[in-house]
């Protein structure tokens, strides 16, 4: 009958559809190269200084300066669920850096995640946040980066898990997650709050760590600021779900963001340490604005009663504790290793250590931050003064760390046990 003809029709439609899909896909994935710059222009000193401030607020050095002696030369390996990505050289070196990038190329990389020569950048580079920066701010950053010393540092090879290494596929990620609508202020809020909101979203990209991610590694916008992760640390929720056992005041937040310490309240550990190191060098008014914005979200957390309101020493386990042996082991470790700084008998060096019933890590839904603090301690940046907590990774066995964490969770924070705690310890310590 007419079936062969229908099959030919269907075949042609399918072919046409494939061609259309291929064209669309190509249109999504392909970007043209932008012509290389002939010579780097000169810039106004005020632009450069504003750019320096923005670079601090944008945390650029966190990824692009693994070697303090070579600012922005890149080369830092970053573990992602998709493989290991290395940061690139963003000094104005002609051969290995961005020396040939025009303002247009720089802007495109910040807004679209596209390199000068058209290849797509992995979203480990948070362009999905930077895209909402104002053009003036991007121009200031350009002025700053193009006036840094040019360092010769070729890009390192990445180790991506197939097929995530295929850069054109990033285009599809961008379709889902790159929202390049420009920044909008909220007229109901103060100028300072708006400044804070802009900096938090477009520049400091707080949500990159503090908002959970989807399976594809994009921000889960249905749960903004619900808590996320960075470098295998749990980054707490900054909203009504904040695990903090005591409410934060604005002054505490400001002090914390500037110095990493809110006295008798919190100490920044892990990746947050690098954040506060950057903010300490940024304009104080911008940090105040960030504090104002963050506080407006944290203040939504309902008041609760926790052991943090008391200042007594952490107690011994109850005699009828169903896990008594383990709790006693944890308590002994606390009393013999931690209490001499963290309890009432703490010595005055390095400033007083936080009484642990106030430590937010004990109240996190996830024990990773606690395990990392115990293992790594907290040390100031190289050559700079600061508070010091030693690391216990080689001192405590996995079992001891698990017992200590279990004890602190129950008798320090009064929270339900973390499930799979021993597994979590093992995973946290795996190289």
């Amino acid at each position: 009958m007419n079936q062969p003809r229908r099959r030919r029709h269907v075949g042609r439609w399918l072919l046409a559809a494939c061609i259309v899909i291929a064209c669309v896909a190509f249109a999504i994935m392909w970007r043209p190269a932008i012509a290389p710059l002939a010579a780097i222009p000169t810039f106004d000193q005020t632009r450069i200084e504003r750019g320096a401030n923005l670079a601090r607020l944008g945390m650029c050095a966190s990824c692009h300066t693994p070697d303090l002696a070579k600012p922005f030369a890149g080369g830092k390996p970053m573990e992602t669920p998709f493989g290991i990505v290395h940061s690139t050289n963003i000094t104005p070196d002609n051969d290995t850096g961005i020396g040939r990038w025009s303002q247009e190329a720089f802007t495109r990389s910040m807004r679209k995640g596209v390199s000068r020569d058209g290849h797509l950048l992995y979203p480990a580079f948070p362009y999905n946040h930077y895209t909402r920066m104002t053009q003036a701010d991007i121009d200031d950053l350009y002025a700053y980066f193009m006036t840094r010393p040019a360092l010769h540092a070729p890009a390192r090879d990445n180790q991506m898990t197939f097929p995530f290494g295929l850069r054109p596929l990033v285009a599809f990620w961008n379709v889902l997650y790159l929202d390049d609508a420009p920044w909008q202020t909220d007229p109901k809020q103060s100028a300072e709050w708006n400044r804070g909101a802009y900096l938090a979203d477009a520049v400091a990209h707080c949500a990159a760590c503090h908002t959970p991610r989807t399976m594809l590694g994009g921000p889960d916008l249905s749960r903004p600021l619900d808590g996320g992760e960075a470098d295998d640390w749990y980054a707490p929720a900054l909203n009504a779900r904040s695990p903090s056992p005591l409410p934060w005041t604005r002054e505490q937040l400001h002090a914390y963001l500037r110095s990493g310490i809110a006295e008798d309240h919190a100490a920044a550990g892990g990746p947050m340490q690098d954040v506060v190191t950057h903010l300490a060098q940024a304009d104080e008014r911008d940090v105040a604005a960030l504090a104002a914005w963050t506080h407006s979200h944290l203040a939504q957390a309902p008041a609760r009663t926790t052991p943090a309101q008391q200042s007594a020493s952490l107690p011994a386990p109850k005699a009828d504790d169903p896990d008594l042996q383990r709790m006693q082991a944890g308590y002994a470790l606390y009393a013999n290793a931690c209490a001499r700084c963290h309890d009432a008998g703490r010595s005055p060096s390095s400033g007083a250590a936080l009484p642990l019933q106030k430590a937010v890590a004990l109240y996190d839904p996830d024990p990773r931050s606690l395990i990392h603090i115990v293992d790594d301690g907290i040390a100031p940046p190289d050559g700079e003064p600061g508070r010091w907590m030693p690391g216990y990774e080689t001192i405590l066995t996995d079992e001891q760390t698990g017992a200590l964490a279990a004890y602190l969770r129950k008798y320090g924070a009064g929270q339900p046990a973390w499930p799979e705690l021993n597994d979590a310890v093992r995973k946290a310590r795996a190289p």
């Binding site: 320096a52 050095a61 300066t65 303090l68 002696a69 070579k70 600012p71 922005f72 070196d93 840094r148 010393p149 040019a150 360092l151 010769h152 060098q281 001499r340 009432a344 008998g345 010595s347 005055p348 060096s349 390095s350 400033g351 040390a379 100031p380 940046p381 190289d382 050559g383 700079e384 003064p385 600061g386 508070r387 010091w388």
Partner: protein
């Protein structure tokens, strides 16, 4: 050309004569003719320095002490060389008030100059005396005897050994001023890099430090210190502490508060509990200032002109600058420790003090006893770099030994205690102005250094910390400046350059609200930093190469030689900044320590990252002339160490405090150099001067390193840093 007389009295007279100070010190010996060298003049008996026993054991006695500078080995080499024996044959006894000569302090880079010279002189005269005895014994003229391995040998094979010759008081003779003739035959020790005798036990767990001393019945004590020097003790409730396990006694005398326990960690815990059970009232807050220059300028000062040459007011281009140095710490890696015991009215104190004899005097005054009832024995501590807590902890131990007679009491300072209470390296401000003439030469030089005391060593009981806390406290004596050329805060304040018109004034501050005392180099660190930084600024104003500019102003050939050598080894004239790397620059500096001792020139390349504030020496090349070299590797070790330590001071270190207390209490709050910031390479090139006096090396490199770094930073990025330290925060904000 005139030689400066050796003693301070003579120098003061010389300076007061008002003549131009000529800077030529090319003298073959440290003593004037007819005088015994220093240290021997106080202890002239030969057998006070060298003893020989029938079993051939040779013991050398010195009033100096091992601080980690290798002096034990170097002194053994000197004595061994004069006696023509292998250094391993000798035993050395270091400062002990009951056994050794009194040589005052081991400080000022004077150990080789004083003890080395004395030992060389004494050992030489012992050798001569022994050869005379051997000649008599063997009936052969001394000149016909061969000296080998501690024995004199006749041509016919008959021999007599040192031990056979000394059966009684043969060496109990006074040294005579004439220098002994040089020893015959090849050198056995001097000029050789003899491995240090003290290193192997330190690496293998041997007993080496005061901290390793364990005595029967020994107990452990810790002191509870006030929050600040002005604090008053209101109340102590020791009842709970006395019930703690192992606690033997709580001792209180005024504000001096301590606990003694039978176990060390028990003492630590008891002290923490005692501190919590004590209430203090901070009577007077410490004064705070926005910066060091304001702080120093605010303190009353007495002017001491130390150089007045020519006539001021030369015409030309005048430059001015101010340089500053903050308070800095000795920061001994091992906090200070002492053990003391009182038995039958006699005290024995084991201490790492740099001066056991002066300490004994201070302790005697503190305890109200006679000097000879106290014996102070030196045992090594960690590197002290000057007047740290060693004397204070000895006083703590002595007071507690008195409170618990019979038992040896060991006091170990905690880290926070050492950081908070050690006498500090003094803050300094330098104001300098100079005028260049039309030929690019310095025509006029005006230099003023403002600083408190750099020497509050015991001495007196009032220099001991605990003594100032007793119910009947001892007041610290009002310090006085030490005269040039030793100087204190004004050490090396007189430039070594030929400048026709120059005025240098030391504005001495007798009172400072923080205790300051000797830190390695004393004023030389900051004065050389200032002078050598300013020389660079002048060189640039004169459009001259920094090395050429210095050479233009040096007349001492030995100085010229070290400058040329350091520049050559660095490749100064062919230096090219590498492309595609960090900001790089080169810097140069030269100084002669105290204008009297070792000559040190240093060229460095640094890298500067202004965005992170990081500064690092990439490579350093030093040239050193320290007279006759006893142990070349030992000298290199000291200079390398001095450069690296000074790098730490210069790039990182400043003490911080607030109205209530010191804030720099540990390594977190007072960071020092770690491995990731040390240079890639440090080269030390030595110029040996056999026959010339020993010049000492321990403090020669600190000042030049600071200036070379600052000069290189300027070359790298155009920033002239005049305030120490060049820390990351300051570099980022520059």
């Amino acid at each position: 050309m005139s030689a400066a007389p050796p003693c301070d009295e003579g120098r003061r007279r010389f300076l007061a004569a008002g003549g131009a100070l000529t800077l030529s010190f090319a003298m073959p010996a440290w003593s004037a003719p007819g005088e015994l060298p220093k240290s021997l003049d106080k202890t002239p008996w030969l057998d006070a320095w060298i003893r020989i026993e029938a079993n051939e054991r040779i013991t050398i006695f010195t009033g100096k002490v091992e601080l980690g500078q290798g002096i034990k080995t170097a002194l053994l080499q000197v004595a061994a060389d004069e006696l023509r024996v292998a250094p391993g044959r000798l035993h050395l006894v270091t400062a002990d008030t009951e056994r050794t000569p009194d040589e005052g302090l081991t400080a000022g880079s004077n150990s080789m100059k004083d003890s080395g010279t004395a030992l060389r002189h004494a050992a030489g005269q012992v050798r001569v005396r022994l050869s005379e005895l051997a000649a008599a014994r063997l009936s052969i003229p001394a000149a016909n005897l061969t000296l080998k391995d501690g024995a004199f040998i006749a041509a016919d094979g008959r021999r007599v050994s040192f031990g056979q010759l000394v059966t009684g008081q043969e060496l109990h003779v006074r040294a005579t001023p004439d220098a002994p003739p040089p020893a015959p035959g090849p050198k056995t020790a001097i000029g050789k890099s003899v491995p240090r005798v003290d290193i192997p036990p330190k690496l293998t767990g041997g007993r080496a430090y005061i901290q390793d001393l364990r005595l029967p019945q020994m107990v452990h004590a810790r002191v509870v210190r006030p929050p600040s020097q002005a604090a008053r003790l209101i109340a102590v409730d020791a009842a709970a502490v006395l019930r703690m396990p192992g606690v033997l006694k709580v001792v209180r005398d005024g504000r001096f508060l301590a606990v003694i326990a039978d176990g060390e960690y028990r003492a630590v815990k008891a002290a923490t509990a005692l501190a919590r059970a004590t209430r203090w009232d901070v009577a007077a807050p410490l004064p705070t200032y926005p910066d060091i220059a304001t702080l120093v300028r605010a303190q009353p000062a007495q002017p001491y002109p130390i150089l007045e040459r020519g006539v001021p007011g030369a015409q030309g281009q005048t430059l001015r600058a101010t340089y500053t140095r903050p308070f800095q710490l000795h920061g001994s890696i091992g906090p200070s420790c002492a053990v003391a015991q009182l038995v039958d009215g006699r005290y024995t104190v084991w201490t790492h003090s740099q001066g056991v004899f002066p300490l004994r005097g201070a302790l005697a005054e503190l305890l109200g006893v006679k000097d000879d009832t106290i014996r102070c024995i030196h045992l090594e501590g960690a590197g002290c770099y000057g007047h740290n807590g060693a004397d204070d902890v000895a006083a703590d131990a002595a007071l507690l030994a008195r409170a618990l007679p019979g038992r040896p009491v060991r006091v170990q300072w905690m880290r926070e205690e050492e950081h908070a209470w050690e006498p500090l390296g003094a803050a300094m401000v330098v104001d300098v102005a100079a005028t260049l003439d039309g030929n690019g030469r310095i025509a006029d030089w005006q230099y003023a250094v403002l600083t408190p005391s750099h020497n509050q060593r015991p001495g007196k009981a009032g220099n001991l910390l605990a003594a100032t806390h007793l119910a009947k406290p001892f007041a610290p004596p009002v310090p006085k400046p030490s005269p040039q050329p030793e100087g204190s805060g004004d050490r090396n304040a007189i430039p070594y350059y030929a400048i026709p018109n120059a005025r240098v004034t030391h504005h001495f501050q007798p009172r400072m609200f923080l205790r300051t005392s000797a830190l390695r180099g004393l004023g030389a660190y900051c004065n050389v930093f200032a002078i050598e930084s300013f020389m660079d600024e002048l060189a640039r104003a004169a459009n001259a190469d920094p090395v050429a500019f210095r050479l233009r102003h040096l007349t001492d050939p030995r100085a010229i030689e070290v400058v040329r050598l350091a520049a050559a080894k660095f490749g100064w004239n062919s230096y090219k900044r590498p492309a595609g790397t960090t900001r790089r620059g080169r810097g140069f500096a030269f100084a002669r320590y105290k204008n009297l001792l070792a000559y040190c020139a240093l060229a460095v390349e640094v890298e500067v990252a202004l965005e992170t504030g990081l500064v690092r020496i990439v490579r350093a090349e030093a040239a050193l002339d320290c007279g006759e070299i006893v142990n070349p590797d030992g000298v290199r070790n000291q200079i390398e160490g001095g450069i690296v330590q000074s790098t730490s001071w210069t790039l990182l270190e400043k003490v911080r405090y607030d109205a209530g207390q010191m804030l720099t209490l540990d390594w977190g709050s007072y960071p020092i150099l770690r491995f990731n910031q040390v240079p890639n390479s440090v080269g030390v090139h030595l110029i040996d001067r056999p026959g010339q006096p020993f010049l000492g090396t321990g403090e020669a490199a600190q000042g030049p390193a600071a200036a070379a770094i600052a000069n290189a930073v300027f070359d790298a990025c155009g920033l002239r840093m005049r305030e120490l330290p060049l820390d990351r925060q300051r570099m980022r904000r520059a």
